[in-house]
């Protein structure tokens, strides 16, 4: 027997790796790892500042590497980490991937600024020791201890790196591990709020349990698809769909389970149940990060899977996805009307938006792809800014997210009310905002693809959803402020920068969207 183990004399070739192409991902993961080491060795009082410096450097560095690569990126995109003799590599670096990387890095930067903010709450929005039992005397003490669990920064970077890998993963196995890398930090971060600890921990546990279920669905789907195609590579699944003798049941069950896993992450339709609780319970900067970046990653991944792997089977999944889009829009629009809590309301709004995004994702044309990418970019910036503004309005117990406390806000702080109104209008999709352009692009792409019925339903849902955004606007401008209502905190530089970035992007993308749309439509997925 031993000689058999030694008998294999031949050497395997090194996989072809284009380091320049994946440098942004490597920088983000590298910065995250260094961040963990900083946590290990720095004394407590130096951690916050060095973590902020490191994370910002990492994200900006990754952005520069990305820009440098884009300037002379090969036409049509490449795949890297390609084994010898294989036709595709594990990571695809094509126009959608680059666009989504840019989106994720920009949104990640804004989120990081909000996460790092210490001006709104002394010590930041995060608990300084998560290990203490909530409800105890120590926890109440903790609320006043300045200082936070600075592990949040490396965790954010890991999540961001996972998202960037997720949207570029060219086989389902890499995709699954990326899915876990992006999810695990989020589960934890949802539970680190400084105030309302129990709510925050409940959010973390719910997100974790349901997320683990969704991951299991995804993995089961991957296994079935492997059984069908004999490979987990997206391109080979597509090839097998065209001509495999294996039973199609494996394919359909596999597609269904994989897509359910993705829809969960994108908080779509009937798989949304975690969304309101988690959005409400998580610390607001984390909610912003989750709402913007996770949605970008989930839909980025879904676009790639649907287009590259499942397109030959599209007539099978079109009807279910059609239904899911309708359900998601309906749930978001109708339940959004009944919410009394602002964070929950935005959560239902995100479910409605997820429905609109499904409309774009299932439109497998060039316009469908580019409009969905643009929608993700626009929605991400608006959402981050929305959560930034929500974190400003505070009373003695922290953030005042109850709708009634926002009554008459315009009289106290016209600027904040104005910005918030603008952002809500963007979410509703009123012209001159990025939300309008996004919706317009997605709906016209779907219309061109012959999905008129769906577009009509989407328009109705938009109109219903617009009602609850406008309700907040009316409340802010035409109600008398409560006598002991919340105050608007003047934000520090970080949160101001994040809100400004989000609002400015919403405005710019609403007025001159051409540059982003052009970039998004510069090319499709690498086959």
């Amino acid at each position: 027997m031993p000689q058999q183990f030694l008998a294999q004399g031949e050497q395997l070739q090194v996989p072809a790796i284009d380091f320049a192409a994946v440098l942004p991902i490597l920088i983000v993961f590298g910065a995250a790892s260094i961040g963990v080491l900083l946590e290990a060795f720095l004394p407590k009082h130096q951690r916050w500042s060095s973590q902020i410096a490191l994370s910002l450097t990492g994200i900006v560095g990754a952005g520069i590497a990305l820009a440098a690569y884009i300037s002379d990126a090969p036409e049509g995109g490449i795949t890297t980490f390609m084994a010898q003799g294989a036709t595709t590599g594990a990571i695809a670096v094509d126009t959608p991937a680059l666009f989504l990387w840019g989106t994720l890095l920009a949104l990640g930067l804004a989120s990081l600024l909000m996460i790092g903010d210490r001006s709104l709450e002394p010590g930041g929005a995060f608990i300084s020791q998560a290990g203490l039992q909530s409800g105890g005397l120590q926890t109440r003490e903790q609320a006043n201890v300045t200082g936070m669990q600075t592990e949040i920064f490396p965790l954010t970077l890991f999540a961001l790196g996972g998202m960037m890998t997720f949207v570029a993963a060219n086989d389902l196995l890499t995709m699954f591990i990326a899915l876990e890398v992006l999810s695990l930090p989020l589960y934890l971060m949802a539970g680190l709020a400084r105030r309302r600890r129990l709510l925050s921990q409940e959010a973390a546990v719910k997100y974790f349990l349901l997320g683990a279920f969704a991951s299991a669905f995804f993995l089961y789907g991957v296994a079935l698809l492997y059984g069908y195609a004999g490979s987990v590579k997206l391109a080979e699944i597509a090839a097998a769909t065209a001509g495999s003798s294996a039973s199609d049941t494996l394919l359909y069950a596999g597609i269904g389970l994989v897509v359910v896993g993705l829809l969960f992450k994108g908080s779509v339709g009937p798989f949304h149940t975690w969304t309101p609780d988690v959005y409400q319970g998580a610390p607001t900067p984390v909610t912003g990060f989750m709402a913007a970046c996770t949605k970008v990653a989930a839909f980025g991944g879904m676009l790639r899977v649907l287009t590259v792997a499942f397109e030959p089977a599209s007539w099978e999944w079109e009807v279910p996805l059609w239904l899911i889009a309708v359900i998601s829009m309906a749930i978001g629009a109708i339940f959004g009307l009944t919410q009394r809590d602002l964070k929950r309301m935005i959560a239902y709004s995100s479910i409605a938006h997820a429905g609109f995004l499904v409309v774009g994702a299932m439109t497998l044309t060039e316009d469908g792809l580019s409009s969905t990418l643009f929608y993700l970019l626009a929605y991400g910036f608006t959402t981050i800014a929305v959560f930034g503004v929500i974190s400003l309005v505070r009373d003695a117990n922290g953030e005042a997210t109850d709708l009634s406390s926002w009554a008459g806000l315009a009289k106290r702080s016209p600027l904040v009310a104005g910005v918030f109104t603008f952002l809500l209008l963007a979410l509703a999709g009123i012209p001159l905002t990025s939300g309008f352009i996004g919706k317009f692009a997605v709906f016209s792409a779907a219309l061109a693809d012959g999905n008129a019925a769906l577009v009509v339903i989407a328009l109705v849902a938009s109109a219903v959803a617009a009602f609850f955004y406008l309700r907040v606007v009316v409340l802010m401008y035409f109600s008398e402020p409560a006598a002991e209502g919340p105050a608007v905190t003047v934000p520090g530089a970080f949160t101001t920068a994040a809100i400004t970035l989000g609002t400015a992007a919403t405005l710019v993308l609403g007025i001159v969207p051409a540059f982003a749309l052009n970039w998004a439509s510069a090319g499709g997925f690498v086959p």
Binding site: M1, Q4, F5, Q8, E10, L12, Q13, P15, I17, V22, F29, A32, S33, V36, F81, A83, Q84, A86, A90, I91, Q129, A130, G131, L132, Q149, E151, P154, L155, F158, G161, G162, T165, D171, L173, T174, I177, A178, E180, V181, L184, P185, Y187, L188, G191, L192, L224, G227, S245, A246, S247, D248, T249, L250, A253
Partner: protein
């Protein structure tokens, strides 16, 4: 020797005796029901620890099934990682929540359990029905040779795949593990506020300054003095029994019975030499402690 045991069974039923060896069939029909029983046991047992142990049965059966299917490395990994490490972590979590703590069986949402069961069974039926049908016409593949990495089998073949096709996924796993460990520590670790750890010397000095109840260690039991049982009490220089050497658990031992008998014969207020008397009243002991502190 197919990749899917279900398919193997189906084929065996169709008379494909040349495809499935007798040994494999026996292994399957022993391990399959065992795995199923483990799964059902896990769900239906009330005690959480027992439930975890049923899961172990299930996982071990899977591990052996993998080995039977010519995937020895996968089988052993299943046993080492899942039945070993992951189950241990499960048990830690159960113990952390308290071995005796049980979920309340009251349904918060009415009809939830019924609906969950219905949907669960429906989903399982759908999948099993569809898959069983689809696996009938699966081509039985020649299994990879576990002794020849070049032909894709065993740990060697896995190693080749890990370092070629799935290199990035492999390195990404490291990121996943970092996050997992970091998250565990963040959630579980508490900073100690008291400052630096006290050294042996600090502790000795603290003892003699009177911060502790007694300066010397507790007396051990009188093992090997007169017998070799922990139940044997240690004797003080005057021959009486050292009360602190008596285990609280050993009341049923001969010594304890003897003392109890003495107490009964002499009357409870009797002053006897026996140092057990020191334990008789809490007040007495308390005053003694105070004296020691001064």
């Amino acid at each position: 020797m197919t990749s899917f045991s279900q398919a193997a069974v189906v084929l065996a039923q169709q008379g494909g005796e040349d495809v499935v060896g007798t040994g494999e069939a026996i292994a399957f029909w022993v391990l399959g029901p065992l795995a199923l029983a483990g799964g059902l046991g896990m769900i239906f047992v009330r005690n959480a620890v027992h439930s975890a142990l049923w899961l172990v049965v299930s996982m071990l059966s899977f591990g052996v099934l993998y080995i039977v299917q010519s995937a020895p490395f996968l089988g052993f990994t299943q046993i080492i990682v899942y039945t070993g490490a992951v189950m241990m972590l499960f048990l830690f979590v159960l113990m952390m929540a308290g071995r005796d703590s049980a979920d309340s069986m009251v349904e918060v949402l009415r009809g939830q359990r019924l609906l969950a069961a219905l949907f669960g069974i429906g989903f399982a039926t759908l999948l099993v029905g569809a898959l069983a049908r689809s696996l009938v016409n699966v081509q039985a593949q020649v299994p990879p040779d576990p002794y020849d990495p070049a032909r894709g089998g065993g740990a060697g073949g896995l190693g080749r795949l890990v370092f070629t096709d799935f290199l990035f996924a492999f390195e990404l796993t490291a990121a996943l593990l970092i996050v997992a460990a970091l998250a565990g520590i963040v959630l579980a670790y508490r900073d100690r506020r008291e400052g630096p750890k006290r050294s042996q010397r600090d502790l000795v000095e603290a003892r003699f300054r009177g911060e502790y109840k007694r300066r010397s260690p507790q007396p051990g039991p009188g093992v090997f003095a007169t017998g070799n049982s922990v139940a044997t009490p240690a004797l003080l220089p005057d021959g009486s029994i050292a009360p602190e050497s008596l285990s609280e658990l050993i009341e049923s031992t001969n010594t304890a019975r003897l003392i109890a008998e003495q107490d009964r014969v002499l009357g409870s207020q009797a002053e006897h030499d026996d140092s057990r008397a020191l334990l008789a009243g809490e007040d007495e002991q308390g005053s003694e402690q105070e004296g020691e502190r001064k």
